[in-house]
Structure formats: C-alpha cells, structure tokens
Symmetry: C3
C-alpha cells in the first residue's frame, strides 16, 4: 500500500482490519518500526478525534508527528495551474506539497468539500495534488468524497462485535441535523460495507440519495421503520442533498430513531461528533446498543494499521 485515500480491494481491507485488531491487542507491537520517520498532519479543516488518533497511532509506531492547522494559520493555498497569484493566495500547492514532501516521510491531509461546487469536490483536488507534487505516501484524514480511516474503524467495530458466520444486515440511516453536512462519511461507509460484502440497506428521505458510484449494490428503502426493523447494525448519520448539491430539501416525517424500532440485539453506530436528541436519542447513545465509543477508540488502531502498511511498503 502506498497511498490510503479510499477502499481498494476486499483483501486489502480485510488485511487492514486484521492488523488493526492486532494493534488493539498490543499497541506497542511495532514500536521501533517508525523510528526516525516523520508524518506531517495537514488540516485544512478543524479536527480533534482524527488529529489525536492519528498522532497516537504514529507515536505507537515510533514515528514523529507534526501538525499543521492550515486553516487557522492563514496559509491560503492556490490550486489552479497557470494563474497570476496577485490576490489572497500566498502559496501554490506545487511548492507547498513539494516542500512538505521533502520534510516528511508520510503526509496525511484533511480537506472538506465546499458543498457548493460538486464537480470540484468530487475530484478531491487537494488530496490528488498533494499526491502529485509531494512524491510521498498520502493518507486521507477525510476528503470531500470519502473518510476511509473512519470507515476502516467502523468495519473493524462490526468485525469485533458480530460473532455469526453469515454476513450481518447493515443499515445506513439518514438522521436530522441543523447544518448542511458533507457526504464523505456515508459515501465511505457504503463503499466499505459493500466492498466487504455486507448486506447494505440505505434509508433516507426523498431528495437525500447519495451518489450511485458509492451505493451501487445497496438496497434503497425510503421507509426508515421498515429498513431498520431487522437490522443487525444501524449507522446513523446526517448528510445534505447530493443531487441538489449541498442543499437541505424539506423532510417529511420524524427521522430520529427510537429504541423500540430496533431488535434487541441490534447495534447502533455513529462517527461522532453527534448532536444528542437531534441526530440520535439519549436512550440509544446511553444504552447497551451503542458502539460509538468502540468506534472512536478503534480510530487509533485503524490509523495505526494504515501507517504500518505504508511504512512496511516503504521499507520493503
């Protein structure tokens, strides 16, 4: 593995989950592997969980991590080719990526979508330009289109919890919110669940359908109650409209999931942060069905497995 920006193959994903679970057993199993290696964590958008879990993962492997909060440090990057940079952008991605590539052995980048320009967002220009100009392995810490470290932690959480031979029934359920949110988490969740051959049902209000490039192979069910009734795992998440890009079409009915709608053995999941009683009810978050803390904790080992594979590949 060189870069980690999306689901690649089922066998790669299964290998990563296995490695992540080994690191969860023993975080310091490979504490010398990353000695004298450095990772640069570049945030064009704020982060707490992702920053902390990736810093910890790097440290567990003996790597040094240095954080750049680009958004707060007023370092506006230019991504267009050939422009005359006479406005507010102080540096071109060509220089920025090459310099950081010269300073670090691995780069990890977070860049949220505009939620205005769909084509530009789906092209994930920031991360692809870092790959192009840094000449170093690049890890996505959430791009416009995907959040693969979250999905790896999510799949790891399902793997740990599900003890039956048959594949589980997994439901991705839209939830209410007050802001327009990106599609990266649900896109990736669908991509990984389908890639790992889970039975996936997606339920959302009309107008909130995700891009088909991510959901092909999933069953779409507009009736939430019906969708979740016999689900083994329900992943709760808000997202804005993809087709009427970034907009919030009016929603009919109450999409706040209730405990009684789920079977006793069902588990609920959320990537956090979660708005209580808006996206997910207290009774579910505080009850025994919740996997949210398990997922958050698994973020460390998901990142550690990814960095392990990248470093191992560099050294071989």
């Amino acid at each position: 593995m060189h870069n980690f920006i999306k689901f690649e193959t089922q066998s790669t994903a299964e290998k990563l989950i296995e490695t992540a679970l080994q690191f969860k057993e023993n975080p310091f199993l490979q504490k010398e592997l990353g000695k004298d290696l450095r990772i640069g964590l570049i945030f064009l958008n704020p982060s707490l969980r992702t920053r902390a879990s990736t810093q910890i993962a790097a440290k567990n492997l003996g790597m040094e991590a240095i954080v750049f909060n680009i958004d707060k440090e007023g370092w506006a990057l230019e991504f267009e080719e050939g422009v005359i940079m006479n406005e507010n952008k102080a540096e071109h991605i060509k220089e920025a990526a090459a310099v950081l590539g010269g300073y670090f052995d691995v780069l990890a980048i977070r860049a949220f979508p505009t939620l205005i320009d769909k084509k530009q967002d789906m092209a994930d220009k920031v991360i692809h330009q870092f790959i192009k100009y840094s000449h170093k392995p690049v890890v996505s810490l959430e791009s416009s289109s995907r959040h693969p470290l979250q999905s790896l932690a999510d799949m790891m959480s399902i793997e740990e919890t599900w003890k039956q031979d048959k594949k589980p029934k997994v439901v991705l359920s839209w939830a209410p919110h007050v802001k327009a949110l990106p599609h990266a988490v649900p896109n990736s969740f669908a991509e990984w669940a389908l890639g790992l051959e889970h039975e996936l049902v997606i339920t959302q209000p009309k107008g909130y359908e995700l891009g088909e490039q991510f959901t092909k192979g999933a069953e779409i069910e507009y009736d939430q109650e019906k969708a979740v009734a016999d689900a083994d795992f329900v992943y709760i998440k808000n997202w804005s409209s993809y087709h009427d890009y970034g907009k919030l079409p009016e929603v009919e009915g109450n999409w706040l999931l209730q405990d009684h709608q789920l079977k006793e053995s069902a588990k609920i999941m959320h990537c956090l942060p979660v708005r209580r009683n808006l996206e997910l009810a207290d009774e579910l978050l505080d009850g025994s069905k919740s996997l949210v803390q398990l997922q958050a904790n698994n973020r460390i080992y998901a990142a550690q497995a990814v960095l392990f594979e990248i470093i191992s590949n560099m050294k071989s």
Copy 2:
C-alpha cells in the same frame, strides 16, 4: 492520588511538596515511569505557562503530551443533560470526555469561570463532568474555583525560602487591575496556606471579600499597610468581587504595594502574568524580595510531582 483538583489533606500536600523538590534536584529521576503513557491537555481557555510547564513535567516522566486548544478550535461543548442539541454546540461532554478518556491515560483540563453565573462557576461543572465521563484521572489546570497546581508551586516556593522553625506569616494582598479577574488563584492560595497551617492574613478593599469556604481561619484586615508590615511573604493578586459576583466595586486608596511598606526580609509573590506598575511596582519585581521567577520555575516540578503520584497510583 487519583484526581488532582484541590487541596486534600495536609499530609498529601506535604508529600507533594517534598516530591516536587526532589524532581527539582533531579528532573530525570523517574524518566522511564511514564513510558507508553499519554496525557491529554485540554484548554477551554488560553495558556502559556501552564501548558509549557505541564508538557515539560510530562516529558520529564517519559509521558507523551498532546494539547487541545478547544477554545480556538471552535469545538463548542454541551454540558446540559437531556437537551436537544439543535443550536451551536457540536458535541456533548458525555461523548467528548469518554472519547478522550479512551485515548489518554491521564487528562488535564483548564476551564475558566463565566464571572456571571456564580453558582454554575462554583460547581466547576466542566472538570466534574470530565471526571464523571472520562473514567480516567483528571488534573485541574485551573478551574472556575481553584488553581491547585499554582498553589502547590507557591507553597513549594515558600518551603524553599523559609528557613525558620516557626510557621511564616503569609499575607494575601489584593492589587489593582483593569479587568475583572477570576478568584481561582486567591481561593486556592488561601486553601493551601491554611491547610498547611501557615498564619494567613488577607487584605482587600471592602466589597472584595473572597468566599468564606476558602478563607475560614484567615484573619481579614482591610488596612493593607497594617496587614503587610510584619509579613514574611506577601502574595499580590487582583480579583473581582465575589459577593457582587464578577463586578468591580469602587476602591478607595492606593493598593499598589510599595517596597518601604515591607520589612527587609519579606518576600513578594505573584502567579504571573503581572501588569507592572499597576499590580506590582518595578522596584519590587526587579528587586531581591521577588520570588516570581522561582514560582514560575516551580510550576514544572509541581506538575511533575502531581503526575508522578497519579501514575504511581495507577500502576500500584
């Protein structure tokens, strides 16, 4: 010791001072103890001295420290139970504390008071909710009501400087300022000085009396000149009104201490930052009576002693 959020017992305090003085002698005495342990430093308000000294203290014990400047990273936390989170708070303390508790072995938190809602401030909700939901040891880096790491460094500075058998006479003296300041430092100073059985006199203008839960056992003297005349240590500090909470009642007379008011052997103390010639005159700060640099330096070893006790307790 599990948490460190206030003065507990005289014997605990004396033990911490002794340990801190040992680390001052040899900072790397226990440099392997914290190997593979992590502390999360969570700042809901800005900090330089406290952040640096705690990072250094952790490092001296071999621990990894990761800093979260929550205030600057736009991560508004919800502390109320049962609310529908449909306004500007992005995450509930229940999730935040549990996730950080899962990521770190020890948490340290700074949360200033509102200076508006006295009851809420005195309840120190932020720190108590972190204790409740993180399931990890919690260290106060200054809460609404107290600043115990500062007081430990202060008491250590008195211990180092005072060479007589009898207890010293310690005076806590109000000083002028241009802003409304919290009560955490004077509250804690009174709590620790009284707990260690120093003779404590508090002098302040009418209307600036501190809460009695902190000052019971101290002598109150409204005449500053009289209070400081035979003092061995004078702790200079501004605070706003506690009874007319957060307000700045009019002050009569000049409260800026003069060198000639003190006896030759007297020492002056301040927690820093200090506003020169407003709170404390140049002649005192630059003269031989000042302990302010000693106090600031002792912050490292105070934090190191606290982390040492917490880690030792975790491992036993």
Copy 3:
C-alpha cells in the same frame, strides 16, 4: 557560538555550511547530543516552513521542541520599560523572557517588523530583549532586520551547486508583489553573500534601495536585464521601500524575470512562499534552473547546524 541572530564571521559561516552539509548526509549523526535538552519556538508571527524545519532539526539532535504561537494566543507583550501596564498588554517581556528562559535550554524567536517605525524595527527590540532577559542562547527565526537561517540555507544551496574554483556571480533581483514585504530576507542575503566574498549585484527599481549597512560592497544596477545577463545565481525577492519606509513607490517597467534573460547554466533562487507569475514565472519555477526546493530542504540542516553549534558550546 552562543546566539544566532546574524552573520558573524566568514569562518563561522563556512563552518556552519560545512556542518549543515554533513547533517544533510546523515541527519542522525548526533541524535543523542540534545537528549534532555528543550528548545522553545516562539512565534510572534505565523510560520510553516520555519517552524517545521526547526522542529525537525531539533528532533534530529534528540531535543524536545515546544511551539508557542504567541500571535494567535492573544498574549500581547509589553516591551517598554517603566510603563504602567493599564492597557491591553498582559505581560512584560522581562517576566515572559525570564520564565521561558527558565523552562528551556535554547529559545528561538520570530518577530516581524512593523514596516511603520523604521528605527524601532532596525533595533530588533524583541529579539534583543529576549537575549537580555532570558539568560539563554537565542536563535532568530526571522527578525525585523534579518533572516539568518534562511541565508545559511541559501549559502549552503549555492555551495552545493557551484562546482567552480572562482566565486560565483550572485544577483539579488527585486520582484513585483501586491503587499508591502519586510527587508529581512534581502538584507540577510546581501550580508551573507558579501561576507562569504561572493560577487554580489543588486538590481531593483529606483526607490527600492536597501539599507547601506547591508549592501556596502555590492554593485547596484538598476537595469535588471543587464544585471542578470551573466549571473550564475539569481535570487528573486520582493521588498518594500526602505528609505520611504514600508511604502510602495511606483515601479516602471516589467520586473517579472524571463527565462530567456538568463544564461543556460544560471540558477534561480527564492525563499518561498512565492507567488507564481507575479514574482516568478511558472517556466522558471518548474524548469531545471530552479533551486527553490533545494533551499527549502536545506532549511532543516541549516537549523540543525546552528543548534548543534549552540548545544556543543553549552556543553563545553
């Protein structure tokens, strides 16, 4: 070497270049030297390259680096003596520098000029007060008047690239920009190039002459075409007027350098960040004449050589 704030002597500079090139060969040559030593990196102005390269340099020597983004943490420092601090400055440099000096073994400081008060800027008060009150070695991370770490990396880049016995012809060429920029980089570049006995020509529009204390010994040529025609190295950089301090006098002609103006073997240099097609054309930045990535990379080893000399001096 105790402090590093400007060019000192030719032999010191040559020694630093040699040491820097050795660290470039083997970054971990002295990885135990800085064990248990700490450097505080204090930024009164934003930084990415300088911060990262200095953090990496410190780490390569086994030192711990802690960063203070003073500008963003609202910590306004008072630099005047004897004032009553009743306005917005929360701490005096006397306390701040002494406390940080007590916490760290080495301090490194960035403080940009006002570009309004020339006399104050040229006095480099911030860095000199840190030297005066911290009682620790101080490294400039760019002051009002100079950027010596940049110049050391620049001279190192010329040294690596220039393979002839005679000294190279080096041209410092003014370039267009949209903002008023400081003089630190061109001042230092001239100081180091002349100090190392390179043949130096400076070309700029009328009104943009640098201070003579930096340029004495250089040839001044107002015709850019003529100046660069047979140059071996052209250092491109914008700066505001020095004599009409911080202003932007009107400029005649096109100062954006073209590839065809240079001889085939010429190299172009820039300290970055660079505004493409405003300061420097794509064809030059993306072509084989460019040394900009070499310079950026050399920043690590320049800083490492400086820290190595300072630590070695402390230990001897």
